[in-house]
């Protein structure tokens, strides 16, 4: 599902932190959640996800698949925006 603009990683939109331990065990599916790593490019995981950033703020994405930036070059960090590509 596409994100609405309010899902963007802007600090004013950050929701209060909630660590995984705050959740009741029933929140979690028994099946392990698969994360796909690549030598180059984002981490891929099933959405929706919450990401806690360094400043403690939490951003969410409700896409069916989420691409998390690993190169730190994204202008929409923590979401990948293809800035990891080689420049030629």
């Amino acid at each position: 599902m596409p994100n609405s603009p309010s899902d963007r990683a802007t600090p004013d939109r950050a929701t209060p932190d909630r660590s995984p331990s705050d959740r009741s065990p029933s929140d979690r599916s028994e099946a392990p959640r698969r994360v796909t790593v690549q030598r180059k490019g984002p981490l891929l995981m099933e959405g929706p996800v919450e990401v806690e950033l360094e400043d403690g703020s939490v951003v969410t994405s409700d896409r069916f698949r989420v691409a998390l930036c690993t190169c730190r070059r994204s202008r929409r960090y923590p979401w990948c925006d293809t800035s990891h590509r080689d420049r030629v």
Partner: protein, 337 residues
């Protein structure tokens, strides 16, 4: 005989082929002769409009034209002749790579000083350029992701699941206000354009028609499912960086929030779609049907070829301070000057 209500009117013909097809659709004349199809310029205005007319019967049809014409054997014979010319030309002109990885490699890098349309629009585009671009692109974006839906029954397993997931995203994830075609209509409103389906067919140049005919050709033929997947991958892979430049162009010119949002949404959405299409759709398809690798590569290369022609046409006109459109945009609909 029931006619499609709310469907667009027939556009103005551009030569004997499109004239013949239209006359036949209205029940008022003969289809073009196959010799004329064989003689026409393959990427030209007339042949491409004739093909476009045939394909539109599979989408929304035309006012005053029976929906049953979609499966009219005589018309399908003409369409097959047009498609044969088009596909043969694409295979001759576009084919560059034998392997999928080689074909994709060129798309997965970012040129440091790109010179494409999105670079032009970001750096020096004015509102009239953006309006022309949106009018030309509206032929596709008002039915965004629809031509690709035809491939779904021809895929299975990982490829089907991945394709369906991306399509669901394109169609708003179950929410009508997030359907990408809807977001594009909102962009058009910001730019003072008419959002009626088919409104700018008369204005669109042959190079724009070619880009849409390519999708319909690949989508409607099961035999071209590999090419359709290659085409879709190309669109998704190239969209994210291009959309960022177009979003910047919209912001710089003050086009409006919906105009910015359409491209902003595509920066992030297509960074994900690219991954799903490459890993699951292409990967899954080639696992099941490895013999389709050359077709996937052809779809990638053909898409690059028609997009480059379209971009070159726009830039040639704009650099000469000319309109790229065949019919001027209605000034009155512009709420911006």
């Amino acid at each position: 005989m029931e006619h499609d209500r709310g469907a667009p009117g027939l556009p103005a013909p551009r030569g004997p082929l499109s004239e013949g097809v239209e006359a036949y659709l209205r029940g008022a004349g003969r289809l073009p002769r196959l010799e004329d199809v064989a003689r026409a310029a393959v990427y030209g205005e007339d042949l491409q409009l004739a093909l476009y007319l045939c394909y539109e019967l599979h989408y929304r049809g035309f006012a005053g034209v029976s929906p049953d014409r979609e499966w009219d054997p005589e018309l399908l014979r003409t369409r097959a002749a047009l498609e044969h010319r088009f596909l043969s030309a694409l295979r001759a002109d576009a084919r560059l790579h034998d392997g999928v990885d080689e074909a994709l490699a060129g798309l997965l890098v970012e040129p440091v000083d790109g010179t494409g349309v999105s670079h032009f629009l970001r750096d020096e585009g004015e509102l009239w350029h953006l309006r022309e671009y949106a009018a030309q692109r509206s032929l596709y974006h008002l039915k965004e992701a629809d031509p690709h839906a035809w491939v779904l029954p021809r895929l299975w397993g990982r490829a089907k699941a991945g394709m369906a997931a991306v399509e669901f995203d394109e169609w708003g994830g179950g929410r009508a206000d997030r359907v990408h075609a809807r977001l594009f209509a909102d962009l058009m409103t910001d730019l003072g354009l008419d959002t009626a389906y088919g409104r700018y067919v008369d204005a669109a140049c042959a190079e724009a028609l070619v880009t849409v005919n390519l999708m319909s050709l690949f989508g409607l033929h099961r035999s071209l499912r590999g090419a359709l997947v290659g085409h879709f991958a190309t669109v998704e892979i190239t969209s994210s960086p291009g959309s960022r430049r177009l979003a910047e162009a919209m912001r710089r010119t003050g086009a409006g929030p919906a105009a910015e949002h359409f491209y902003d949404e595509h920066v992030e959405a297509d960074a994900v779609h690219e991954q799903v299409v490459r890993h699951d759709v292409i990967g899954g398809l080639l696992e099941e049907e490895p013999q389709l690798a050359a077709d996937v590569a052809f779809g990638i290369d053909a898409t690059g070829f028609v997009e480059d022609r379209f971009g070159a046409r726009l830039l040639a006109d704009w650099r000469a301070s000319l309109s790229s459109l065949r019919a001027p945009l209605d000034r009155e609909t512009a709420h911006i000057s």
